[in-house]
């Protein structure tokens, strides 16, 4: 009837989510801030994966980066400075059904939250961890962060940062039981989207360090890289990130790197003359603490009551 064949079936999803379904409040980051692009990529990855907004949780600490949950139309947790990871791990521990994202920054993650960074990486729970690394404290107005380059003047070190910056990649790649380590720059849209998509698809803690521009306080950091693309090195491999040729052409410096080779990844991270971009390390088989912590979820009240009585029996006289 009406030209429709009987064996046609329309695959109409009960709910289809558009980008708008993931957009929360209007972002209040500065004009030209790299965070806008990262947010757009997160929205797109959520949309492409058709994540249910009510099943998605964005957890953050404190800082410019950590405003991200407010710009999501999902559940969100904007907690304390440095403490996004323990909270995110706690969410995942007994709610494996939730899709957990963590937005943090160089101060939040590498400084005040450093202990949690090390241990959350080792726990390897299924989280997507985005570190917005602009090399400066932005929200508190231009203090030196662990990744502020040497000699860059800040309000706490007006004649320039005193010590060489911390290398988050060598630290992360030195942690036992890591499973996904990547690095991108905020201003390359396709690379940014593809890496965040892969990070989200990975089952385990995916660490993505995003070199992010802060045009207000340290414009020089991003500009130096943009002016001299040879200082960046695109990592290519069939198991790595796939980008169009047009994107590849933007990187005169490229290297073939197998993401399953941790030794090669560490060597790339140690060479601070160039910034490796793409997937440095990927191991889909690392043990996951979220699978361990969620034991017993299926127990019924009856089983629990029996268990409780058995426990009480242990102390009977």
């Amino acid at each position: 009837m009406f030209g429709l064949k009987g064996d046609w079936s329309l695959d109409v999803k009960e709910r289809y989510f558009t980008l708008e379904d993931y957009c929360g409040a209007e972002p209040r980051w500065c004009t030209g801030c790299g965070d806008h692009g990262i947010l757009a990529a997160v929205h797109r990855v959520c949309r492409d994966a058709q994540l249910k907004p009510e099943k998605t949780v964005a957890v953050s600490g404190i800082g410019c980066s950590s405003r991200l949950p407010h710009y999501m139309n999902t559940y969100g947790f904007h907690g304390l400075h440095g403490r996004a990871l323990p909270v995110a791990c706690g969410v995942k521990s007994r709610r494996p059904d939730l899709d957990v994202w963590v937005a943090t920054g160089d101060g939040d993650c590498f400084s005040i939250g450093a202990a949690h960074w090390i241990h959350a990486m080792r726990y390897n729970m299924d989280l997507t961890l985005l570190v917005f690394d602009n090399g400066i404290y932005g929200l508190t107005k231009k203090q030196t962060s662990p990744t502020t380059p040497l000699d860059v003047p800040t309000n706490t070190h007006p004649s320039g940062a005193l010590l060489p910056p911390l290398n988050p990649l060598t630290v992360t790649l030195g942690i036992t039981n890591i499973s996904f380590v990547a690095q991108i720059v905020d201003w390359n849209a396709q690379l940014r989207h593809e890496v965040i998509r892969m990070a989200h698809a990975h089952k385990g803690t995916s660490f993505v360090r995003i070199i992010q521009r802060c045009p207000v306080y340290v414009e020089s950091i991003g500009k130096a890289l943009q002016d001299e693309p040879a200082r960046m090195q695109l990592l290519t491999h069939e198991k790595g990130v796939q980008v169009d040729d047009s994107v590849k052409r933007q990187f005169p410096n490229q290297a073939e790197h197998d993401p399953s080779d941790i030794h090669a990844a560490r060597q790339l991270a140690e060479d601070e003359s160039v910034l490796p971009l793409g997937i440095l390390y990927h191991n889909p088989d690392a043990p996951r603490y979220d699978l361990m912590s969620s034991v017993g979820l299926e127990m019924t009240a009856e089983e629990k009551l029996a268990g409780l009585n058995e426990a009480l029996d242990h102390f009977a006289i």
Binding site: G76, R94, F315
Partner: protein, 497 residues
């Protein structure tokens, strides 16, 4: 009196002199003193009697009090089960030697029979930390997130063994802050969790406790108190965390603080705390201490019921017209959306926020949030009964106590009353909000000291300070405190009655 006589022959003249003095003093008091060569007897079996003298004495006492020696030896073997047979054997030998020594040299015996009516119908024997661990399971809590700290850790050791029976998991975090952060994450996601710690851990968790108050996240925190400040006295008893737990957070952070006074309460208060935490959307602290943590007692076996358990996480559709902080004007209470509830999506924040959980720094929103968080405590206080007075409600002296001091206080009160003194006591379980009726109780008596374990060398100051806190914080915690909101002056300057 049985007295070790090793000091009678001590090479140090001063020690011999003190021993003689003590002996004369005991005799003067009319005690029959048996001077016993315990050290010498033990030397026949071991080279260092400092290790094992207690077993010799245990053997002696077993004979004197007419207890079953075989049972005692079974217990000894159980205690040393993780050590070698050699250790068990030498302890048994010392025990036998003590028993034999008493048999040959001490010519009297006591027989203590246990009155049948004193025996519990179905008793359980455990310490307070184990009881708290069982309470966690009974409350239907699925996650304990902790960092090792004396004297709290044994609760988690226990749970590590038995928690799987009720489907629970112990997370040992990288530090105290991560421990509470992890618990808060699970609680936010609908699985009210518990963190167990002691004073120094509370100090580290303080910012997170403030977050749980501000963002109204249910959470159970057990503080097994030890001596402070700093690392202090890890294995000793002190009730020194009271003020830190009630007031120890930046800003005005009203929260519920309970104090367990018995091992049975260590169990039941966790069940209560989980329910309060969820109903009032707040962190609930339970204070216990090293005394309760390690003290072993027989308690009546609780009649377990699934009504104690947390209900399954609500994943029904959230009414989109209801805001995430839809505070009831009178009580400050609100329902919370839980991740997974469609239509309830909101961004929880530790920043000042309005009913819609949007960051709001304006005066009106901040005042409303402050009022509502405070009002919840007033609402809880309104449901509390006045504490029962142990003794007469009127008299010369009313002793106010909380926590593990209950036995000492009530025994002292009974002794004083038997001697004709008009003494009574009340024991508090709710420290924040305070139980009602204290004002009336204290008005009926002439003096009202507060008994707690703490500041040892200055008990006068300690009592004075605590008394002024009791008398001022009592009325403050009640409805008058925040409903309607009082003027700023009355909050900042407590009267010093």
């Amino acid at each position: 009196m049985l007295l070790e006589n090793m000091w009678a022959e001590d090479p140090e003249p001063k020690v011999r002199e003190q021993y003689a003095e003590a002996l004369a003093d005991f005799k003067k008091r009319g005690l029959i003193v048996h001077e016993l060569p315990i050290q010498q007897e033990c030397l026949k079996l071991v080279t260092d009697p400092r290790k094992g003298k207690n077993m010799f004495v245990l053997g002696m006492l077993c004979r004197i009090y007419n207890r079953d020696a075989d049972k005692a030896k079974e217990e000894i073997a159980k205690i040393f089960r993780k050590k070698s047979d050699k250790v068990i054997n030498i302890n048994h030998d010392l025990f036998d030697a003590g028993y034999g020594f008493a048999l040959d040299n001490i010519g009297y015996q006591f027989s203590i029979t246990t009155a049948p009516e004193d025996r519990l119908e179905s008793a359980l024997v455990m310490n307070g930390n184990t009881a708290a661990g069982l309470g966690v399971m009974a409350a239907g809590i699925e996650l304990v997130s902790m960092y090792p700290i004396t004297p709290a850790t044994s609760a988690s050791h226990y749970l590590a063994d038995d928690f799987p029976l009720t489907g629970g998991f112990v997370h040992q975090a990288e530090d105290e802050i991560a421990a509470i952060g992890f618990a808060i994450g699970a609680s936010y996601a609908g699985k009210t969790a518990c963190t167990i710690t002691s004073g120094p851990g509370i100090a580290l968790k303080t910012e997170m406790i403030g977050l749980a108050v501000m963002a109204e996240i249910p959470l159970v925190i057990i503080n097994v108190q030890r001596g402070g400040p700093a690392t202090g006295l890890p294995t000793k008893v002190e009730q020194g965390d009271l003020l830190a737990c009630i007031f120890g957070a930046p800003g005005d952070a009203p929260k519920v603080v309970l104090a367990a006074s018995t091992i049975s309460e260590c169990f039941h208060f966790v069940i209560l705390a989980r329910k309060l935490a969820e109903s009032f959307r707040t962190p609930v602290l339970i204070l216990t201490d090293a005394n309760l943590a390690t003290g072993v007692q027989a308690i009546e076996r609780p009649e377990a019921t699934d009504e104690w358990f947390a209900p399954p996480v609500d994943q029904s559709k959230w009414d989109e017209n209801v805001l995430p902080y839809d505070w009831d004007e009178k009580t400050g209470l609100s329902e919370r959306p839980i991740p997974g509830m469609r239509g309830g999506e909101y961004i929880l924040t530790g920043l000042a926020h309005n009913r819609n959980s949007k960051i709001a720094y304006d005066t009106k929103s901040n005042q409303e949030g402050m009022d509502m968080r405070s009002r919840k405590l007033a609402a809880l206080a309104a449901t509390l009964k006045p504490p029962e007075v142990h003794g007469d409600p009127e008299g010369d002296l009313l002793i106010v106590g909380w926590g593990s001091t209950i036995g000492a206080i009530e025994e002292a009160v009974d002794l004083a009353r038997d001697a004709g003194n008009k003494v009574s006591s009340v024991h508090l379980r709710f420290l924040s909000p305070m139980e009602p009726g204290l004002k009336t109780a204290t008005r009926l008596t002439h003096h009202c000291p507060v008994a707690r374990t703490g500041a040892t060398h200055s008990s006068r100051t300690c009592c004075g300070r605590t008394r002024s806190w009791i008398l001022t914080a009592g009325p403050r915690s009640r409805a008058t405190r925040c409903h309607p909101p009082p003027s700023a002056g009355s909050l900042t300057k407590p009267s010093n009655r």
